[in-house]
Amino acid sequence: MKDILKPGLILMAYGIIAGLALGLVNSMTAPKIAAQEEAARMAAIEEVLPTATVFETKTEGDFEYIVGYTEESKAEIAGFVVTALGNGFSSTIRTVVGVNTDFTVAAIEIVYQSETPGLGTKAVELDDPTKEPWFERQFDGLPPSDINVDKDGGKLRSITGATITSRAIARSVAITVEKLKTTVGSSLEQEPTEEVIDSTNDIEIVEEGGVE
């Protein structure tokens, strides 16, 4: 019994010391790490919706989206930001999408992908760092109905040799923007128009054939 207990206690002692040391380092680095992640997130959001300065996250069921306002007072909506997830060839591609108030795409930024280097990664890679990311720029200004690769009838040029990647990004963006449209569109309509009373409804007009 003793020769199980003693080593066990010693191991526990090591564990405790290690735990304390890690706790210390963690408390020193955690704020910095959290700040990094938040900065990256905000950078992407600001990138895709440059006209907005104030952001508010809203949830409708299990759908999360961000509303961007032009100023502090939240009087005017600049647009929305949503995150689209698409099943790429070898990874789930995460795209941040800025959406205008008329539900056309303001801009997209692919924030995470792990596709085939040289093929799917061409969605974000540039041969020349001074050039624009052509694939992402294609989405600017498109309504959801046009967001599809040319092979499927849309306006987007897919990446040569990376049909699956291109399609995944296009589809996920289109579907997510559509979802945003139906989610927000309905609540946008409800707010002011409910107040208006249609006075003509006081008079019921009975059409012909009252009995049958």
Partner: protein, 350 residues
């Protein structure tokens, strides 16, 4: 006198008297009809691309054998076959340096590194092709050439599909049809594409379609393949099981609309199946020796081919099926060894 030894992993050896060189050069002979057809459809490119590939293969073999200080057998025909098969397995439009690298890797890493002819576990031409496929996927999937007098997919009149080979059209169409978020127009278009390529299977048989140089004409390959079988240089079991297997499984699983909707003719005449079945699944070094083993090998290849075509990321599955089955060859051989007379059976109480 230098002996020409045929090194196989176990006895028995092949039919009496044939030396390695004789067998190899007969295979080259059997590949000629396919080459001629390829030249007819794809032009002079098919000639010199193949020649470059052959030279690269033989040169690599010679150089490595010199370094290893072993007898140089670069002209015994096996390197020539590797070079030809490699060229036959790439799109006709690829740059010349790709076949050089493919052949060099095939012969160098696929064969010489293991000790030369007879020691390689994998088909050298397919090793080279796999390397090319993984290294330059864009070239290997887009540099097709329009066959003389035909379209890439064999079908005529539907623009969207004239730029892709039949099996890629099938894969794309199937994805569109089975995708729940596809609009009715997309599904309509996809169905029409599938109809068109299915009805173009005679083109696939003759060779009037897009594809690699050597997979164009099933008939030309068949002629060569039958020649080898009749002369006893290759076994009929493997090609038969392979092709029949693909026909059956392709009918069940290969369709665009679900089970049992596959088009048998289309499945067997497209995608280099004949080339693989007659010339690569019959390679003596990398495929089973035993008769039963050959049935299993052919069947295994068929299953893998259909599965890759249906569920894999590539439209074509022949090369990878054969490579994978190559890996299983030693196990297949071990478990299908014929029982020697006189040894007691394993059954208890006998």
């Amino acid at each position: 006198m230098a002996e020409k030894k045929l090194i196989v992993s176990s006895s028995p050896h092949l039919k009496g008297g044939a030396s390695t060189t004789a067998i190899m050069w007969n295979v080259v002979l059997a590949l000629l009809p396919a080459w001629v057809v390829g030249i007819y459809y794809y032009g002079p490119r098919a000639v010199w691309l193949t020649l470059i590939s052959i030279v690269a293969a033989a040169a690599t073999e010679a150089v490595i054998q010199l370094i290893r200080k072993v007898p140089v057998t670069a002209l015994d025909g096996s390197a020539v076959i590797t070079g030809m098969l490699l060229a036959f397995n790439v799109p006709p439009g690829v740059p010349w340096w790709m076949v050089v690298i493919g052949s060099a890797i095939g012969v160098g890493i696929g064969k010489q590194v293991f000790g030369g002819l007879g020691h390689n576990p994998l088909n050298p031409a397919l090793v080279g092709r796999a390397f090319l496929m993984a290294s330059w996927p864009v070239h290997m999937t887009t540099q097709w050439i329009l066959p003389r007098g035909g379209s890439l997919s064999g079908a005529v009149g539907i623009d969207a599909i004239t730029s892709a080979t039949p099996l890629s059209v099938l894969k794309l169409s199937r994805t569109a049809i089975l995708d729940p978020s596809s609009t009715p127009e997309i599904v309509e278009k996809a169905r029409a594409s599938v109809e068109a390529i299915y009805s173009a299977w005679p083109q696939a048989m003759i060779g009037n379609i897009g594809g690699c140089i050597g997979e164009a004409s099933a008939i030309a390959i068949l002629i060569g393949g039958l020649y080898l079988i009749i002369r006893g240089f290759s076994d009929w079991r493997t090609p038969l099981t392979y092709i029949a297997g693909v026909a059956l499984l392709g009918w069940i699983f290969g369709g665009a609309e679900g089970l049992f909707t596959g088009n048998v003719m289309f499945q067997i005449f497209t995608g280099g199946l004949f080339l693989g079945a007659f010339f690569m699944a019959t390679d003596m070094v990398t495929t089973p020796i035993t008769k039963k083993g050959r049935w299993i090998f052919g069947l295994g290849c068929a299953v893998l081919t259909v599965f890759i075509r249906r569920w894999g990321g590539y439209p074509e599955g022949v090369s990878y099926s054969i490579l994978i089955m190559n890996i299983f060859t030693p196990i297949i051989d071990r478990h299908t060894r014929p029982r020697v007379f006189g040894q007691s059976s394993k059954k208890a109480g006998q």
